[in-house]
């Protein structure tokens, strides 16, 4: 039941909607009030909230998993990279929860008691894994922040400078925070939530699609005097495009975070000018920041460009470019689950398996221009792991205090040029990029499918000619060729060759046994006497040599006569028996017409295989080019011998 009392400072009514709320900040006089049964104690004025672009306010309502809630309080927290809000929620079922809001990302958590001993704040490290509340968590962020101000009803005392030592934990889509500002620490468990899914109403007027709610801060670069601006309170650092100095916007004196580029520093020009507006995936974006990162490997510097894009609802996206290859990148609120033990293991995300591509131990920011929603500095470094499933790339970036995952999607340079209406600025991509889609992937599948169909058709044709439209047996006759008939000629029975001129095959299947025989064959047309001769020699030897069986030659032979006209035919056989072994040889003469051979089938199959083979090789060459740039490139023999040393 709600408790209403009067503010001891100004008399305005103060309502405690939640029984767990102990503190409240008077909406009218900003007094911090402590609840004592039916009375309130004024313990001083609460500091003013820093203006931000949050579309939420105390009184905003929504629903989570079908339960209605209202925002009844708020803590604004300042950390190294800016501000975030912790909104105190009261659900209709009287539960209370917290909605964390940072950089357009929302996480909803509930306090959870665990009997487990919680790890000490100082013991935790980024990427560390441990089991808590029956889940395996990975430390994703360690923050020593401080409270700026409170608002509305809160379950504990807050005030400016109130320390907030917090550790964020991830387990896939699940999220937890260990709050070390209390003893023992508090555990909050929940999940990242989509703003729209909360179906929130009574939002700040004009903030449903946030626009700049503060006047753009316009000032001169303290280093070179060039005019600069920060469009909103989200912007914490501005890089001077003229001199390269980076300025702290939160500092009233515009402190220089990193000095101007030196005379010898290379200065990069953004391929998409700062301030360019465009449409990515149907949504408007504006390029507000540009930075260049560099990594070094074997003394060679590799640098890539990153563009910060301001989008709708106070959201931010990134464009990255390396050697003319572009990616649209989004920071993931639901990072993938990983084993956390072996970094080069595949990572599963969104139903896809991402293969480790490369680990960049040190990626350093070497140039900054434009506006950024964190205190970016030249010289800041992080460690980057890339995993690819073209056209997607998962990247894990980690520092001493933070670990973030992002998902990049490869975009053709033409699409970037079209999105920002650029002309003549894009450079042609060089080489193959990590997550560049293989242009032969689709063609390979299509050509393999086509080859399958054509090969099947060839097999059907071959079977048709071999068994249906193939040749037929015209004669089959057994004869005996004996030494006594050396001077005689054996004449077969007659047979008919019909239709048009055909191919006639004469096959001799003999009973040769370590012997040879010469056969003078003659295919004779009975009517015209025209004859087609063929001389064949058959030999077949076999034996056993040192326990190994051997054989050579063949007992069978086939000879073909082409373009034989229709008519009645017979075959004459004039044998030449081996004088060294004058024994009778049995011979089965078989005469067939037509018949499909196998050579054409082999030739057509080889020809058809050229197409899939070609696309396979092109596909493989592209993949080879991709992985040659990775940590998993094939090792040359020179490298391996070095390794052996």
């Amino acid at each position: 039941m709600a408790l209403t009392a009067s503010c001891p400072s100004c008399g305005a009514p103060v309502v405690f909607k939640s029984a767990s709320s102990i503190f409240a900040v008077c909406d009218y006089c900003q007094s911090t009030l402590v609840r004592h049964d039916q009375s309130l104690e004024d313990i001083g004025k609460m500091a003013a909230l820093v203006e931000d672009r949050s579309p939420l306010q105390v009184g905003t309502e929504g629903s989570y998993k079908g339960v209605h809630f209202a925002l009844i309080g708020r803590i604004q927290i300042k950390y190294s990279q800016g501000y975030w809000n912790e909104w105190h929620l009261l659900f209709d079922d009287m539960r209370t929860g917290w909605l964390s809001e940072a950089g357009g990302e929302y996480v909803l958590t509930f306090a959870q008691y665990v009997p487990d001993q919680l790890p000490q704040f100082a013991e935790l490290k980024i990427g560390q894994r441990f089991v808590l509340a029956s889940q395996t968590w990975t430390v994703s962020n360690i923050e020593s922040a401080e409270c700026v101000a409170g608002q509305g009803e809160l379950p504990f005392k807050v005030g400016p400078g109130y320390p907030v030592a917090a550790v964020d934990l991830r387990n896939g889509a699940n999220f937890a925070t260990l709050d070390y500002s209390e003893t023992p620490p508090l555990l909050f468990v929940g999940e990242a939530v989509d703003f729209k899914s909360l179906k929130m109403g009574n939002l700040r007027e004009g903030m449903a699609i946030p626009t700049a709610i503060v006047e753009a801060q316009v000032f001169r670069c303290p280093s070179c005097g060039a005019p600069l601006q920060a469009r909103s309170a989200d912007i914490l650092a501005v890089g001077c495009a003229t001199c390269g100095a980076v300025i702290d916007i939160a500092d009233p004196n515009h402190r220089v975070l990193t000095t101007a580029l030196g005379m010898r520093d290379e200065k990069y020009t953004p391929r998409i000018p700062l301030g360019s507006k465009g449409t990515l995936e149907g949504k408007p974006v504006e390029v507000i920041g540009f930075l260049v990162r560099q990594s070094k490997s074997d003394g060679i510097a590799y640098d890539w460009r990153e563009y910060l894009l301001a989008g709708e609802h106070g959201s931010y996206r990134w464009l990255t470019e390396y050697n003319g290859h572009w990616n649209v990148v989004d920071v993931l609120s639901n990072p993938p689950r990983t084993s956390g033990i072996i970094e080069i293991d595949n990572v599963q995300y969104g139903g896809q398996s991402f293969r480790h591509f490369a680990t960049t131990p040190v990626a350093e920011v070497i140039q900054v221009a434009g506006e950024f929603n964190w205190r970016v500095r030249r010289g800041e470094t992080n460690r980057v792991l890339d995993y690819v499933a073209p056209p997607l790339m998962l990247s894990r970036e980690s520092t001493e205090s933070e670990q973030t995952w992002s998902l990049g999607t490869y975009v053709a340079p033409e699409a970037i040029a079209e999105a920002f209406k650029l002309s003549g600025r894009m450079i042609a991509p060089v080489g193959v990029y990590a997550n560049q889609p293989n242009p032969w992937a689709e063609a390979r599948g299509r050509v393999f499918k086509l080859f399958g169909k054509l090969a099947l058709a060839a097999i059907v044709l071959q079977l048709f000619f071999a068994f249906i439209a193939g040749g037929k047996t015209l004669l089959r006759q057994d004869i005996v060729l004996s030494p006594q008939m050396a001077e005689d000629t054996v004449v077969t029975r007659e047979f008919e060759v019909s239709d048009k001129p055909r191919k006639i095959a004469v096959r001799n299947s003999t009973s040769l046994d370590n012997n040879w025989i010469g056969l003078d064959l003659m295919l004779v047309n009975k009517a015209s006497g025209q004859a087609w001769p063929a001389t064949r020699e058959l030999a077949y030897y076999y034996g056993n040599d040192g326990g190994e069986s051997w054989s050579e030659g063949n007992r069978d032979d086939e000879v073909v006569f082409l373009d034989i006209p229709p008519g009645t035919y017979y075959v004459t056989v004039d044998p030449d028996i081996a004088p060294e072994k004058p024994v009778p040889v049995r011979d089965t003469i078989e005469v067939r017409s037509g018949g499909a051979g196998w050579s054409n089938f082999v030739i057509v199959m080889l020809f058809l295989a050229i197409f899939p083979l070609f696309t396979y090789l092109r596909h493989a060459a592209f993949e080879s080019g991709r992985w040659a740039e990775s940590d998993h490139a094939p090792v040359s023999s020179g490298d391996s011998s070095d390794g052996d040393d």
């Binding site: 063609a443 001129p501 063929a534």
Partner: protein
Amino acid sequence: MFGKFNLATGILALLLFGYAQHQGWNLFDNVANSGKGGSGSSRVYHK
């Protein structure tokens, strides 16, 4: 374009294959005569 070229070439290859099979052409054959209308290597024979 590439796909149509593949398809057309593949179909042409199948047509040639079918024709060659119908004609009985076979590279693996031991051919006794050069095969021009029965003349050439043929000769008149009487039993």
